[in-house]
């Protein structure tokens, strides 16, 4: 008969075996091999996403100037930003810029898709032409618009004043309060609507023609067919495209930085440009990261909604 002392290791071995069997039952017989297979991607994600993200959160809670070690300040940066008028304006402008752009892109993208589903001449050619803004590098587009909007030398004022005589004199598109934000939104719309259009076009082509025929037989008008056939069929695509575009537009830096640098007087200041300015202009890295992370919860909510929709789409 085994002594109690000898029974202890045996009991431990049994427990380990029991756990192993339970794992095998839950995760499959090859679960050890599974760990091996997922290990590289886990390491990669930890190294390239989790570590930098964690470090960014840490830095946002420090006072960090260039070339000197960070000093822990807790939530000071976030608290200070909350009450900072310039930051508040940047948040407000970011929402105006994002929702203004996305709203117009949605309408134009839908119009583009509807036109391109019709039997028009040179449809492929027009599809290609309409994709140019999406394909062109953002920097090139923005620099072109900088010239287009120029008061004295820009082509827009030239056309409106001298060619079409629509206006008595030119407009300072990027310099006046009423037009600066609208002008940068217009560039974002110009660049982004083809993505909406081409995505909707793909969705519309997948709608069975029989559905339109059945609706037409039932006496539905074109508007009713659009409302009761096209829109419901495109619902998932619309949600995904809008959410993706919201994330991209919210984080858009290039267009505003090149056109206005957030000016004049902060009229077009948005969070990405503010982050850049605090990081590289003021060289206060901790605060800059706090600006970037401040809106993270809102963006995370958007991403969660998007991910859910995409998963649901995949399940169907």
């Amino acid at each position: 008969m085994a002594t109690p002392a000898a029974r202890l290791p045996a009991a431990a071995a049994l427990r380990r075996r029991g756990a192993s069997v339970a794992f095998a039952r839950a995760l499959g017989p090859d679960y050890r091999l599974g760990y091996l297979f997922v290990a590289p991607i886990v390491v990669l994600v930890l190294a390239l996403v989790a570590y930098p993200f964690g470090y960014a959160i840490y830095l946002s809670m420090t006072r960090k100037y260039v070339g000197v070690p960070p000093v822990w300040v807790g939530f000071d940066n976030y608290v200070k930003l909350t009450w900072d008028g310039f930051f508040q304006r940047a948040v407000y402008n970011s929402f105006i810029f994002t929702f203004g752009s996305v709203g117009v892109k949605l309408l134009l993208g839908m119009a583009m898709a509807l036109v391109l589903t019709r039997r028009i001449r040179f449809r492929s050619f027009w599809t290609g032409v309409l994709l140019i803004p999406w394909v062109a590098p953002t920097v090139v587009s923005a620099l072109n618009f900088l010239w287009i909007y120029d008061y004295s030398l820009g082509v827009l004022n030239y056309l409106l004043v001298k060619v079409f005589h629509v206006l008595p004199r030119g407009v300072g598109w990027l310099s006046e309060p009423g037009t600066a934000m609208a002008s940068v939104i217009a560039v974002n719309v110009w660049r982004g609507f083809p993505f909406f259009g081409i995505s909707f076009l793909a969705g519309m082509k997948a709608i069975p023609a029989e559905m339109y025929e059945a609706a037409a037989v039932d006496g539905a008008t074109a508007l009713q067919r659009f409302r009761h056939v096209t829109l419901p069929a495109l619902k998932n695509i619309i949600v995904i495209v809008v959410l993706l575009s919201t994330i991209w537009t919210f984080n858009d830096f290039t267009i505003i930085y090149i056109l206005t640098k957030g000016g004049p007087g902060g009229a077009t200041q948005v969070l990405p440009v503010l982050t850049y300015e605090i990081a590289f202009g003021a060289q206060r890295l901790g605060e800059a990261i706090a600006v970037a992370l401040y809106m993270l919860p809102a963006m995370a909510a958007v991403i969660i909604v998007l991910a859910r929709y995409m998963r649901k789409g995949g399940a169907r």
């Binding site: 909007y149 120029d150 300072g172 310099s175 640098k261 004049p264 007087g265």
Partner: protein, 452 residues
């Protein structure tokens, strides 16, 4: 003679070895030595050269950039050093420094903006001996340059040149109207602009943005000083909305009035970037503007029709005097560099008067003097327009004036606080008082943070 050959010769003389044996052994010794030397030579040339990373500033004066690049390559060849040159222009210079410093991988040597030594003092090498030596050889530094390069009693950079701004005037228009160059902004520039402009022909009297840009920030800084104000008092404490409130308010109001009341500026001026006034001036749409010599360089090198019709004069002033913000490009060696001696040698090489003269000749006024000895260089007499450049440089003052040049003063400039203040009035619809109060709060905040 080789010891072994001598020994063989002695053995031959004393008859210990035959002549044939002597020749055989001598051939072995000589051949072996020659082969060994050849192998050593191959090994020596196979050793990797010392590598130096140098970051240079890519200015708009491209001919000068080319000269500097060639000079550094010539130095590298002479010293058998491999130099990796990287260029950074106005927009990407500071982000590059920040990224490199934070990554722990800065270059060995960099050509920096005047803000550099103050901003990066924690990671720069003390070059007091070199800077002092070079300055002594050139008659000493001009006061603003010495203050900007010497941080906490140590030189952290070697001054190179000053890229100042001057007042550009269309001389042909001025002469047609029988006018003289304005001395102060109010009323001289205003009246000058009113008399010369013709908005119906898209010709405006004055082109000066108050938007976020080097041009806008520089003008706002100058105009506060011109009215006897400024962002800082002489002790380096915030004074924008306190000690100098009255003066600053007048200055801000004048800046805004050039657009809103006097209407001497083009309607789109608040959306301008640093190149906009250059383009507008060269397109013949402005009678006057403030700009660096790069505009003159562009006109001269392109043989632009306005080059001979342009007169450069001292920047106008105001009731408190006439002020110009300083500029001082410089050489800084990073503390991490393992080749500081080579860096210092390279700085001496390019700052040698003959080589700097070569650079100066193609700069068309951009490489202004920072050393007293260079002020009297005959080059500055070669074009009547250079007189204003030199005089503006000599009288220029640093960020933080009338107080010291501090990190906070540098940040206020870098954060566009003053142009934002003007923009809040012109575009945001705030009163001058409200905008000044708002800007002062930002200056206070920066001062507080930089102090702790």
């Amino acid at each position: 003679m080789d010891q072994r050959l001598r020994h063989l010769a002695e053995q031959l003389d004393t008859g210990l070895i035959a002549r044939r044996e002597f020749l055989r052994r001598a051939a072995v010794v000589t051949g072996g030595t020659a082969a060994g030397l050849a192998a050593l030579r191959t090994m020596a040339s196979g050793q990797p050269k010392t590598k130096l990373r140098v970051w240079l500033f890519k200015s708009f004066v491209t001919n000068a950039n080319d000269v500097l690049g060639r000079q550094i390559e010539a130095w590298a060849k002479e010293r058998n050093v491999e130099v990796e040159i990287d260029w950074a222009t106005f927009g990407d210079r500071e982000p590059k420094f920040v990224a490199a410093i934070e990554a722990g991988n800065p270059p060995d040597l960099a050509e920096m903006h005047i803000m550099g030594p103050t901003r990066y003092k924690a990671v720069l090498r003390d070059v007091s001996a070199l800077a002092g030596d070079i300055a002594r050889g050139k008659g000493g530094l001009l006061p603003f340059a010495e203050t900007a390069m010497k941080i906490d009693g140590k030189f952290l950079a070697v001054a190179r040149y000053s890229m100042t701004t001057v007042f550009f005037i269309r001389r042909d228009v001025m002469e047609t109207k029988g006018l003289k160059p304005p001395k102060v902004y109010d009323p001289d520039v205003v009246e000058f602009a009113r008399k010369t402009q013709d908005p119906s022909k898209d010709l405006f009297g004055f082109g000066q943005t108050l938007n976020r840009s080097d041009d806008g920030d520089g003008f706002m800084e100058n105009i506060l000083w011109d009215y006897g104000g400024g962002s800082w008092d002489k002790d380096g404490k915030p004074a924008l909305g306190t000690a100098f409130r009255a003066q600053n308010l007048k200055a801000l109001q004048f800046a805004v009035d050039t657009i809103q009341k006097h209407k001497i500026q083009p309607p789109g001026v608040m959306g301008w970037t640093d190149v906009s006034n250059n383009e507008a001036y060269m397109a013949g749409k402005l009678v006057t503007t403030n700009n660096g010599a790069s505009l003159y360089y562009a006109m001269v090198t392109k043989k632009h029709e306005l080059a001979p019709k342009t007169q450069l004069v001292l920047t106008p002033g105001g009731p408190g005097g006439s002020f110009v913000g300083s500029s001082c490009y410089n050489w800084a060696i990073f503390a991490k560099s393992k080749h500081a001696d080579l860096c210092e040698d390279m700085i001496r090489w390019v700052e040698d008067e003959k080589r700097f003269g070569e650079y100066l000749q193609v700069s068309v006024g951009q490489a202004g003097p920072v050393y007293k000895g260079r002020v009297d260089n005959p080059y500055w007499k070669s074009d009547p327009n250079f007189e204003a450049i030199v005089q503006n440089i000599v009288r220029s003052v640093n960020y933080g004036h009338p107080g010291p040049l501090t990190s906070a003063a540098v940040e206020v400039r870098a954060q566009h606080i003053l142009t934002d203040m003007a923009g809040r009035v012109v575009v945001g619809g705030l009163s001058a008082e409200a905008a000044l109060k708002e800007a002062h709060a930002r200056v206070e905040e920066i001062h507080k943070m930089r102090r702790t």
